[in-house]
Each structure stands twice: as C-alpha cells, then as structure tokens.
C-alpha cells in the first residue's frame, strides 16, 4: 500500500504475544486433537505449548537468537511429525515448525505493521489481515480443485481418491499407468486426433471471417451496427443446449449431423464472438492515420491491410484465435448432439467417461489439459501485453 511510509516496529508486550500464540496453537491443536480423539485436550496442549514457546523465544532468547530458534522449531516439528506418522508427518511437522517459528517473531516483534500506515487502529489492522485471510481462502477454493487432480492422476490404483500408499509417499502408490492408457488406448488417441482435426479448422474459419467483420465493424459509419453486433455475439449468449438443439434439428435436414463438417461449422460459429470481441477491442486503440498514410503513399487496400494494419492487430487476432480454439477444443454439448461414433472428441470421451465408467485416465487427460491451458494462458497474457505496447497504451 504505502512502502514510503516507515512504520516503526517495536517489540510487543509478552502478554499480547503469548495470548495470540496461544490462540493460534489452540486452533491448530483443535484439529490435531479431534484427529486423535479429543478436541479439548488438543486445544489445551496446543495453547500451552505455543504460549510457552512464545515466552521462551521472546523473553529468554530474544531477537538475536531468531535464526537458531526458527531452525530449532522446524527440526522439532520434523522429528515429532516423523515419530507420529512417518513421511507425511515429517512434512506436516516441518511446515508447522516453520510457520510457528515465523509467526512468533512476526507477532512478537510487531513486524505485521511494517507494510501498513502508522495511524491504523488495532481493529483496522486486524481487519486488514482478516480480509487477506478471507481472500486467501477464496483463492484456495479457486485453485485447489485444479491442483488436486494432478497428483491423483499418478495414482497406481484405479481409484479417484488418494490411497494410503500415496499419502505415505510410497513410490509403489504412484505410477504412470493412466498416462500410458491415455497415450495408447485407441479410444483416447482417436478422441485426441478428432479434437485436433476439428479445432484448428473451426478456428481458421472463425478467425478469418471474424477478423474481416471486426475491421468492418470498427469503421465509423456502419448502418445497424448494434443489431449486427447483437447477432454476431449471440452464439456466446444463447445457452449451448439451445444452440445444440437447434443445430441438431436444422443440420439433420441438410444432412450435416454426424459429419465432420457439421461439427466444424458449429464450432466455428461458437468461436466467432470471442474473435469479434478481442479483435474489436484491439482495433479500438488502432491509429487510423497509419492506414491513411499508407494509402497516401500509394499502397492499395490489400497491401495496407497486410503490411500496416495486420501486424499491429496481430496479437489481438491471435488471442481471439486461441479463444476460438479453446472453445472448440473444450466443447462437448454440440458434439454430443451432432457427433457420431467416429467423431468422438476428447471432451466427449471425458464426459461419457465421467458419466458412465469412471476411469482415472480422465484425470491424466485432465492434467494434460491443465498443462495446455497454462500454456494458452501464458501466451494470451504475453500477447495482450505486446499488443498494448505496440499500440503505445502502456510503457514497457
């Protein structure tokens, strides 16, 4: 918030430090205690232990001994954890030791105020950190489900859940068998192949038509612009199930159901709103005098487009294309309706797998997809920054 303001930090009274630590220890002890059968005992022992540690660290050893104390606590945690529950206990214990070592000094030395403005009342400080903890919890909610499937995909068993071997970090509990299945089972490989055959073609259609239309839409005098925009964006707004129902009825009349081109056309139209939105957003900052200058120097419209306009809006076009690609690559409802046995895509395979026979190969597929989406996210982010830099909207 305000790094310029230096809030003086001072050692807190031992009563405060011990009190806070006792509360934190009690909270941790509650969980360990219930796991052992008695929550109350856990609270008492945890609170007493932490309060005692706080007194020892603050009063007897002081700030000078901070490093040894913190290492000592980690060692203590590791040892206690190992005795209690082997490897997982060791890791948990180490983490506990590290956290409480840091926490004692953070509270005891009043370091928590360093980044805050000096005039905040204790209540405001408390709220500040409570808010951070709440936000942290929401971030955990956002990210945990995605992270959880990654270790599970290395499960040696055909289970969707952590086995005791996995929790013991026993190498026998882990294997690459689901990845092997994913890469060798013809059901999965043909699904991947279909997805890779459909998505790029659909993307190509939506990007080429979408970019042209976005350029047309960004001109100043377009009759019925609002209505046209509403129609072009509608595939994103209309629920997929309705689009799929309508397409199923209509495409069956013209013989496109169960064909490759039926799915490609459907996916292309579903990707168009994303292309339109990203490319028009890029064109908002486009300096029109550049094309005029090019035309002035004798370039024909096609040359102007490819030599002047296209390079500048390319980042927007590519990220629109990535959106369109992921839309097609991730789409399942339309494929369920329009597809056939030979046209099963990866999402279809995952969907039917989830609905009928649960095989952890889905988790291997999911992990690979997460890796792909991280790659896509990174490229879109880089492209966005590059586009802003090209258009001079932000420095660097």
């Amino acid at each position: 918030m305000s790094d310029a303001i230096l809030t003086p930090i001072e050692k807190k009274p031992i009563g405060f430090t011990a009190g806070v630590l006792a509360a934190a220890g009690g909270f941790a002890g509650l969980f360990l205690g219930t796991a052992q059968g008695s929550g109350l005992m856990g609270i008492v022992i945890g609170a007493a232990l932490m309060a005692a540690l706080a007194v020892v660290a603050m009063q007897m050893l002081g700030e000078a001994m901070e490093k040894p104390v913190r290492w000592g606590l980690i060692a203590l945690g590791v040892a206690a954890g190992f005795m209690y529950n082997a490897i997982p206990g060791l890791i948990m214990g180490g983490l506990f030791g590290w956290f409480f070592g840091w926490f004692i000094y953070w509270i005891g030395m009043g370091r928590y105020r360093v980044h805050l403005v000096p005039y905040l009342t204790p209540g405001q400080v408390l709220w500040h950190y409570t808010f951070r903890v709440i936000c942290g919890a929401i971030f955990v909610f956002l990210i945990t489900p995605i992270l959880v499937i990654i270790p599970l995909s290395f499960n040696a068993q055909n289970f969707f859940t952590f086995t005791p071997e996995m929790l013991r970090f026993d190498p026998a509990g882990y294997s690459l068998q689901h990845y092997r299945d994913f890469l060798t089972n013809p059901e999965w490989t043909s699904a991947v192949k279909n997805s890779l055959l459909i998505a790029p073609v659909a993307t190509l259609i939506s990007v080429s038509l979408g970019t042209l239309a976005a350029i047309g839409l960004s001109q100043s005098h377009v009759p019925g612009k609002r209505a046209i925009m509403a129609i072009l964006i509608s595939p994103m707004i209309v629920p997929l199930i309705i689009s799929a129902t309508g397409m199923y009825f209509f495409y069956s009349k013209i013989g496109l159901v169960g064909t490759y081109w039926g799915i490609v056309l459907a996916h292309a139209v579903l990707g168009i709103p994303f292309v339109i939105i990203t490319v028009t957003a890029t064109l908002v900052g486009f300096d029109r005098s550049l094309t005029r200058a090019a035309a002035n120097m004798g370039a024909d419209p096609v040359t102007t487009f490819f030599k002047v306009q296209m390079p500048l809006i390319l980042p927007g076009v590519i990220s629109g294309g990535l959106f369109a690609f992921i839309t097609s690559f991730d789409e399942v409802v339309v494929v369920l309706f329009l597809g056939s046995a030979e046209l099963q895509t990866l999402p279809w395979q995952m969907f039917t797998g989830l609905r009928e026979q649960i095989s952890p190969t889905i988790l291997a597929a999911a992990t690979i997809l997460v890796a792909i989406s991280i790659g896509l996210l990174t490229s879109v982010e880089l492209l966005r920054r590059r586009s802003e830099r090209l258009r001079g909207m932000s420095p660097g």
């Binding site: 709440i134 129902t245 309508g246 009825f249 495409y251 997460v370 989406s373």
Partner: protein
C-alpha cells in the same frame, strides 16, 4: 518565373482553385468539391462508399452466422409449434373429423373410421403409424399401443374381402389381372418392356374411364401402384394388391353398378358384383373392425385427442412445457402429480440465483483485493483467477467430482480430522449442493473479471477524501466505494446468471436428480424420449428468458464492452 504551368489561371486540370472560383462566381450556390460537383453530394457519395465497404467486410460473417446459427434457432422455434405429423399421416381422417363435433359425446361417424382404415393401412405400409402413435402418446397415454395394434390389425379388415373375392376367382389375388383392370394399356406395355437398365420405371397411369366406374378402387390401386414403384422399386405387374384395394372394390361394387362396363376383365368384375349383391356375402363395418383391433378405438376421448391435434400448428407443446394440457375444452392445468416443468423452471431460476449470489459474495473481495494491490502483485494473483477460466470445463467438473464424492478428498480430510465419522461421510454430490458448489467455482472468473475492470477505474482519492472528512471505514466503503462498484456487480451478475441458467454439463455430472436444470430435461427429450416438440418448446422458453437478460445486459453494460481475460 512566369511559366505557364505554374500560373494559376493557366492550369487546365482540376485544382482546388477552380472550386473556389466557381464558389466565388455564384455566391449563393452550393459549395463545390474539387471536381465541381456540389460538396454535399460528393461527401454523401464518399460516405456511402465507406458504408458499403464496411458492410462488404461484415457480410460474409453475418451470412455465415445467419445460416449456421440463427437458422437453426429459427428451426427450433418453428418446431415448438409445428404439428404436421397427424395431418400428414392421416390426411383423410383429419379431413373427415372436421365435421365431427367432439363435444357431442358420440363416436365419430362411419366415414371417419373408413378414412382411418385407409390412412392407417397406408401408414403401416410406410411404417410411420408407430411414430404417430408415440407422438399422440405424449398427449394421452395408451395411444401408442392403440396405433401399433391398428397397424397390424387393419389388414384383418381387408382380408375379409380379399378372401371372399379370392374364393370367387383366384385372379382377384393376382397381380396382372388387377393391372389390366386398372392400368392404362400403354403404361402396361411400357412397364412390361422396362428393365433395370432403363432408369426409373414408367410412372403408373390409370386407364381412362375406370375412375368413373370404380372411384375408390381406382384411388386405392393408384396409391398402391405408386407406392410399389417409388418405395419398393417393384413392378405393379408382379405384385398382388393390398387387401385395402379389395376393400375399396367391395365399397364401389356395393355402392354402384358395373353393368355398363365393357373394358378388360369385365366378366371378372361382373361376377364380383354379383357376389357382393348376394346376401350371403360377409361384410364388416369399419367401426366393428376397429373395435376388434382394440377397444380403445371406440373411446370418444381418444378421438377427441386426434381431432385436437389434427391442425398443422399447435400450442400443445408450450402448454406441456408449463405443466398444462390442451383439452377440447381449452387449456387446463395438469393434475398436481403430473406437474414437472414449472417446478424445474423454478429450481433452475432459484439455483442460478444462488450461484450468482455466491459468485458475488466470493468474487467481490477478490476483485477488491486485485484492484487495490500494486499491479505487479495483482498480475500475479490474477493468474490464479485466469487459470480456472482457461482450464477445460470438463477438467473442472471432474475435479469437483473427485473433491465432493463420498470417498473424495473433502470427505477424506474431514474424516482424518475427526470432524465426520467414517460411516457418516457427507453426501455432497448428486444433489443441489454439488451443482451449486461446482458451478460457483466454474463461473466465478466470469464474475471477478467484469468487477475487476470496473473497480480498477474507481479513483483511490475518493476513498481517501471520505476518510479525511471523518468517515469511518464502513461508511467510506458503503457510501463511497460500493456505489461506484455496483456497475461491475451488475455486469458480472447478468453474465453469470445467463451462463448458469442454460448450463448442462456440470449439472448432468454432479447434479444427480435433484440438482439438474431445465437444460438436462431438454437434452433428455432430444436423445431419450424423442419428444422433440416439447424439447423445442422448453428451449424456446429458456431462450426468451436469456434474450431478455441479454437485452438488459446490452442496455446496462453494452455488448461491445464485454471483456475477456482482464
């Protein structure tokens, strides 16, 4: 330097000067462009060219979207009212039913049964009677089996006559005598000479005059012959007619006189006429024939349903979609225990609201934090929001399946912590809770991103000003910051609500039976129960709700302000 070329008065080509001078000469005239045309017209022309160019760029995509997307939606809307199956399958019956008063309480007259006999005979040859049966079964259960039986049973009615004519003369059950009796001699010759290599068969033609003598028979035989040629690719010269034709023959012979007939096979026909005139000739009324097929054919109620659904367009599907039914006395609410869709719509709306609300609750703090952090930290944390946004929907749904199931991660942790007994694991999946949690997670980025883009435009100085004027933290937030962030909440809420109301995949996988949405029912009708009209009607209602929200979104936020990925 007084070169002629540089002297303004001596240049012959158009220069800006010419226009100026022309303007000078006619002080009151219009302003002229360089080429001498009035400036206004010239500008208009340029503008028109610009408009046309823009439209030419948009046109291909617009056309593409109209054909691949808008037309299918239109088709669905059409299907929600379309009901041509009854009149297509039973054209004679629907025409005959026109004059029958369905409220009289009497059965339809014999003509209706006669028409139904011919219609169903043809329909069962075409194998479409069961489709009509299942269509009408949506309106009145039991009609499916009634039509199925009729498909098998109409032949029995015809056999009564076929057998008697056959006993009289074997030729009545032969292909060639019939063809000679009914067919045009030229056609018979052409058909006889026809071979596979000649392409399509010569289309059957009635012999001149036969339609006057035997109107019904001619009609029935023509239908039969055309059917053999077109559907089966068989020659009518080699196929014995259906017993429907014999039934028609009986009717003609009973009604008219063939004494004056002297065409081919006249003897055969006169003998048959004599047989029919004989009191010993066995007949069966169509009504009794249908009674033998199935008692249900004599139920006034069923005939009322057929008459009710005989028009080409119906509001019946929409009535079903809102738990009502079309009856001869108007539209009525279905009995309590058959109601389903209103409750499903209510549940969809309710759960979408809960999901929207939880997204606001979880999204607001995050958007606030991100917009108030220094941009380097905010960008880093933004990745945590964008990663779920970019991750495949199915990955996230399977992740929630892994998390929530009874042997899943959350239950495991709770059991390990001793908060839940091992035999009392929480049921968090295949119910509303599972759907709400998973969908909140999936739609949360759609709430955070618009909120964030609004919140990052709120100047910090307003908050500081409020505080320096003595407002407490809460007052500052509630009176100064929050009102300015409301547009973000509005944008995010409408987006999330629109997306959640039509969700299919996630409820299907984690929703069980109590957590499903209206979309799941639509998919069920498309793929399992095959009641496409009802699916289209449900889809139309859902579409209207979404379009109203879309319109509201456009008014409040503007569709061109939709942002993706921050």
């Amino acid at each position: 330097m007084t070169d002629a070329a540089t002297e303004p008065d001596k240049i012959t080509g158009p220069t800006p000067d010419i226009a100026l001078r022309a303007g000078d000469k006619t002080k009151s005239g219009p302003v002229l462009a360089a080429d001498g045309t009035p400036l206004k017209r010239s500008l208009n022309r340029a503008l028109r060219a610009q408009k046309l160019r823009a439209l030419a760029l948009i046109a291909p995509l617009l056309l593409f979207v109209l054909i691949t997307f808008i037309a299918p939606i239109g088709d669905m809307l059409f299907r929600s009212v379309e009901n041509q199956i009854v009149s297509n399958t039973m054209p004679r019956t629907t025409a005959a039913l026109q004059d029958w008063d369905s409220n009289s309480g009497d059965l339809p007259p014999e003509e209706v049964f006669e028409a139904a006999f011919y219609d169903l005979f043809l329909a069962s040859e075409n194998k479409v009677h069961t489709r009509l049966g299942s269509r009408l079964n949506y309106e009145q259960s039991g009609m499916s089996s009634m039509f199925r039986r009729a498909g098998r049973g109409v032949g029995d009615i015809g056999d009564v006559y076929l057998d008697q004519f056959k006993d009289l003369d074997r030729d009545w059950d032969e292909a060639l005598p019939w063809a000679e009796l009914m067919g045009d001699p030229d056609w018979i010759a052409a058909q006889d000479a026809w071979s596979e290599a000649d392409g399509p068969m010569p289309s059957f033609e009635l012999r001149a005059g036969i339609a006057e003598v035997l109107p019904r028979t001619a009609d029935a035989y023509e239908t039969f012959a055309r059917f053999m040629q077109d559907s089966n690719g068989d020659s009518p010269l080699e196929e014995e007619p259906w017993s429907m034709v014999h039934t028609a023959l009986y009717q003609d012979l009973a009604a008219g006189d063939v004494a004056g007939y002297d065409g081919p096979r006249a003897d055969m026909l006169r003998a048959a006429d004599a047989l029919v005139a004989d009191p010993a000739f066995e007949t069966i009324s169509f009504r009794d024939g249908f009674e033998e097929i199935d008692e249900d054919w004599l139920s006034v109620e069923n005939w009322r349903v057929i008459k009710l659904y005989s028009p080409d367009y119906t509001v019946g599907y929409f009535a079903s979609a809102v738990d009502m039914e079309k009856t001869p006395d108007g539209i009525e609410v279905r009995p309590e225990d058959e109601q389903l869709y209103i409750r499903l719509f209510q549940r969809t709306l309710f759960m979408s609201l809960v999901i929207t609300f939880s997204c606001i609750l979880l999204g607001y703090p995050i958007a606030y934090l991100l917009s108030n952090l220094p941009s380097s930290k905010a960008n880093l944390l933004m990745i945590l929001v964008l990663l779920p946004f970019w991750t495949s929907l199915l990955v996230r749904t399977s992740a929630w399946k892994v998390m929530l199931q009874q042997q899943g991660v959350i239950n495991d942790v709770l059991v390990w912590l001793g908060m839940v007994a091992d035999d009392g694991r929480l049921v968090m999946i295949n119910n509303q809770f599972g759907t709400i949690v998973a969908m909140t997670h999936i739609l949360l980025p759609f709430m955070i991103l618009p909120m964030y883009s609004v919140m990052s435009t709120i100047p910090q100085s307003y908050v500081r000003a409020a505080k320096s004027l003595g407002a407490t933290n809460w007052t500052t937030f509630w009176r100064v910051y929050f009102p300015q962030s409301v547009p973000g909440i509005g944008a995010g809420s409408i987006l999330v609500f629109i997306l959640s109301i039509g969700y299919y995949i996630t409820p299907e996988i984690v929703g069980g039976t109590s957590g499903i949405f209206i979309s799941n029912r639509i998919a069920f009708h498309i793929s399992s129960s095959l009641n496409w009209g009802l699916a289209a009607a449900l889809g139309t209602i859902l579409l209207v709700v979404v379009l109203v929200l879309y319109w509201a979104y456009d008014r409040i936020v503007g569709i061109d302000n939709v942002k993706l990925g921050g």
